[in-house]
Amino acid sequence: MSERIPGFATLAVHAGAQPDPTTGARATPIYQTTSYVFESVDHAASLFGLQTFGNIYTRIGNPTNAVLEERVAALEGGTAGLAVASGHAAQVLVFHCLLQPGDEFVASKKLYGGSINQFNHAFKNFGWNVVWADPDDIASFERAISPKTKAIFSESIANPGGVITDMAAVSQIAKRAGVPYIVDNTLATPYLCKPFDHGADIVVHSLTKFLGGHGNSIAGMIVDGGTFNWSRERRYPMLCEPRPEYHGIVLHETFGNFAFAIACRVLALRDIGSALSPFNAFLVLTGIETLPLRMQKHCDNTQAVAEWISTHPKVAWVSYPGLPGDRYHNLAKKYCPNGAGAVFTFGLKGGYDAGVKLVSNVKLFSHLANIGDTRSLIIHPASTTHRQLTDAQKIQAGAGPDVVRLSIGIEDKEDIIADLEQGLAD
């Protein structure tokens, strides 16, 4: 008898969640507790020694967060997940498990600005050195590899420029170098793209964006693809050497193809402490139940808005991979066939002043620094997030004076377009 494998929408509703075994509660309860009683001294010893599965303290694990972890792992096709306080926290924990001071990692230079800051500045303090590569020149990843390289990092759909990374090509470089390939899948979500199908070994998320989807909670996630052989490479002491924190166990030997997620939990999260509140986990879980519906609507609306705005006389250019003329259109068709995401940028012929005028004139779009909300969002980076940079730096960062970024919501597309139309009118 062949067993039926459930589809994405079914997993979005069910994965990780079952009726509460004690009360029968069908919605996932918010386990708002710091700690969990032990059945006996032996049980406590087994838990602390990682010899049995269970909860000790919410900094390390929580049953509400666990439902979220399994849900996202199932949607991504990964072996295990770890929910954390934010997307930034996810990145700190992942690199903490991979890098020693003095090590390097190669990262795409087309990333969310917050990640560029984190890698350039915060990580330098830990002795983790980023080497930048250009996703438009895949060979630059290969050239950036050195004997100190421990990982490669990119986004699937990059924020904000609508850059699609050729993940299969990058993953081949990672394989040859014997290092894991980490993909930030925040903008695509597993509804549009599953990086593990294209050679990624680890996926990270800011759940704050489309997965949570309602602009109400900061949260992050690490997903283990179960594809990287830590014991063979022998360069990752957190995974393949006896851990003094746990009486000498070797995590990869003990936990097999979900060892990386366990390492992130029992070594990194335990000691670094960026735990997710179970209340936020509950809100994100509720959001994920409608992810397939929302994401398709986000994409359909965005396609319509991008097509409309590309014909507007005051618009100089549009960068959206869903448009047939876009340089990333073919990569979008390969990696995100259901839609090219809901975030894109465009340039105004009127430059800086026209950008300021548009964000001031819109009445439906919210002028703020987030993406991936049910509501349509707008920002003029040159006057806000990138204000401190010189014009040359702004242009380099894709935030030139003329650039406007939109994150299209799930309102009626006619209303979204009408708001932009009146906002652009003289």
Binding site: E3, Q18, G24, A80, I262
Partner: protein, 202 residues
Amino acid sequence: MGEPLRSVPAMNHDSYPDNYIRGILNTVKSIAMVGASEKENRPSYFAFKYLLERGYHMIPVNPGHAGEMMLGQRIYARLTDIAESVDMVDIFRGSQYALPIVQEALKLKPRPQAIWMQLGVRNDEAAALAEANGLKVVMNRCPKIEYGRLSSEIAWMGVNTRTISSKKATIGGIQRMSLSRMSVPGGATEAADRVQREEGGH
């Protein structure tokens, strides 16, 4: 020439239905673990202790430590030294040792119902011999992980159980879930499965 006894069909050893695994773990009561280590930080110790705590009668087999005690259980040198009946033999040794262990297991009376080879252990010849003699076979899996997965206990560690269910699970104590949960397949782990097929587990 008589056909060998074949009470179970040969399995696809790349992918076991959950009900097949659950059936074995729900049926067997005594498990002889060949290669059980007394060292607290070894995976075999982890699996032995967990299965013991879940109510299985665990019998350690390790010729280097025969006669010693492990978690209150006497260690035997070889399967055929065990005086009581063994329902399942769990092989915690390299793949190359699996065939002689299965040959020895087939000498037990009564015969075990199942041969289980640990994560990373696969020997198709040994499996075929066991199956030809009516034994169920699982390879390249860990019974602790499978118990945790099918009971959903392992989900507390964020692990994808690859199951979903709308049925309330039954609890077996504080932070203990029963194996008799009803579930259907859930999220697949295709990328990890592909690597496991190519590399034989890691």
